[in-house]
Amino acid sequence: MADLEIRDLHVCTDGHEILRGVDLSVSRGQIHALMGPNGSGKSTLASTLMGHPAYEITQGSISFMGEDITSAEPHERAKAGLFLAFQYPVAIPGVSVANFLRMAINAKREEPIGVKEFRAQLAHAVDLLDVDRSFTSRHLNDGFSGGEKKRAEILQMAMLLPDVAVLDETDSGLDIDALRTVAEGVQRLHDEQGLGVLIITHYQRILHHVKPDFVHILLDGRIVLEGGVEVVERLEREGYDRIRQEFGAGEAGAVAAGDPGA
């Protein structure tokens, strides 16, 4: 069984069915890319994995590290080792990045983290993300630029050391330098810590910096195409429209190649 196992997931929000039977498996040490056009259900999947209350699971299940987390609270999922990097990180006025990180780390521990240990971890993460040290004393996401918010997401990921991280359109709104920094950070956490990653993206460009082992195409709430990096190349050549014509809405989720999660 994979570390993150999504089975036949159906999800509704505001009375509309957005996900219509998604199967996906992500384990530690793997990098997956989930691609799809706007409205295909990518962000719904990301929010549902983290337990957002606005999304109702009507069928199917999610398990993580062997536990069924289909109806677990978001903080329980986080403590179990799941991480979501938000597409639109939320400002937390009045709380510094460093203080927030300390709270989040302590939420996962019995004993509060020691000052020295925390400082050392923070210094390491700050280097990894190539941000100024003063960054950590600013209020979290409050007045941050788009790029700073995304760096702050990866900084949190580097500090919290999850087993599996879902990156929801982390590449959107980033200039090329920021994109490279963020992507290198993700790659290093994968290489050094064995992080499992699910990169959710509309575009291919982040995949030039982080090499996925498995690629999945989401269309109208179903995964219609799966494979290795060749799927990205095909998408670059043909675009979503061709794929939509081939595996159009209403079709059962056709699997073109392999079963990556198994």
């Binding site: 209350p53 609270e73 978001p74 938000f86 939320v90 937390i92 006025p93 927030f100 989040a104």
Partner: protein, 481 residues
Amino acid sequence: MPEAPRARIPRPATDNGAAGGRAGGAEAAGPDGVQVKPGGHREATLYSALAGAGAGDGRSLAELRAQALRAYESLELPVWRRSGFWTTSLQKLELGSLRREPDAAPALPEIVERTLPARPRAGRIVQSANAIVQLELDPDLRERGVILCSLKDAFREHPDLVAPWYSKRLTVDRHKLEAANAAFWSAGAFLYVPPEVVVSDPFEVVYAIDARGIAQYGRTLVLGGQASEFRLHEYDLGEDFEGQALHAGAVEVYLQDGARCRFAQVQDWGAGEVFDVSTRLVDVGRDAYCHWLPALLGGHLVRQHLELAVSEPGGEMAFRGLFFTEELEHLDVFAVDLHETGPSEGDVHWRGAATGQSRASFEGLIQINPGAQRTHTYLQIHSMMLSPKARVDAIPSVLVSADDVSASHGGTVGELDEAAIFYMQSRGLDRPAAVRVIVEGFFEPLIAELEDEPLQELVRGKIARKLAAAREDIEAYATSR
């Protein structure tokens, strides 16, 4: 937005007129500048600045007490009303059943030891009920001319220093409880910081009520000499008891040329049925500065008239405040940013939250008197509702009688941000922890301005405890939306 100048001339500071002149209930500006209007069944006092209409005009303390006593005897318990918004009525106060005599052998109340941070301090004076139970002053400061003692002793030992300032800008008869304070105070606190004396540790002035049935009259007079610098921490603390008690307080702080004062107040009267009706006034002299931050954190029914007046050119002030009401508490704050002369700078920033079925009402008035040219001031009030039955009203108002000024106000009313809660949950914080982070973050800009670690910890701790107590209420509110 700056408003067009209006014709409203404040009265001169010295003329106080006859006692209780408005008690008959005619609709008119009373001789002391206070307006009343006839209500359906009862008069209500309108919200207006003291604007210098003090009672102290050279008369003796005995004469002022006599004037106050006449007013006390002729007035009924006060009601404040903002039509359509709130009514603050003291009618349920059983004043006749409260005692104002000092206890036979007063001791330092436990609530004081429990609450005040252990820290270096310049001095401390504690009034429990109506007796001073602790008085300390750094001997070195005493050597340099600093005075800290009861106001009663100050009248005896330093009459020439005290008399000209006593009640200089405070009235003694606008309402029954103000009159009671002026007539009956028996201990009080007096602090004098001589010119050029700079003190970094705080002076602590404490009023404590540790049992039901007490009517406490607090009277504080603070004089900051030219170019002096000091911190003033006032604590108003009540033990958790059942039954009624009253604190009627009057605080006046006069900062002379170039004086700088950071004045913080932590008020928490506990779970008892404590009524607090107080007036606090800070007068900022020429080129003087005051940072004033009351933290109003509990009381059954609390009415605060807080007035920060820039009385000489070059005066500058930062008027901050925070409040947190819970359960059935009722809070009524009238905060005045008064500019009597220009150039002057003002900056008013308040934040408040409410849980349970509590009620918090805030009226913030910017008043710029005629001739107070080149005054710049801004008032902002932010509030957060944490329960379906809690209510916060905030009314900013601007009264400008000069034309070369800028005066503006703004504010927000908020609820808990569910997106922020989910974000924090996704990082491993449970829901109550996330709510706490949001509320603390909401108050943090003001708490940070206390610039005093022990005080900051005290205020943060009190807010955290209130949130923990209201946890179910907050949860129910979130799921109902």
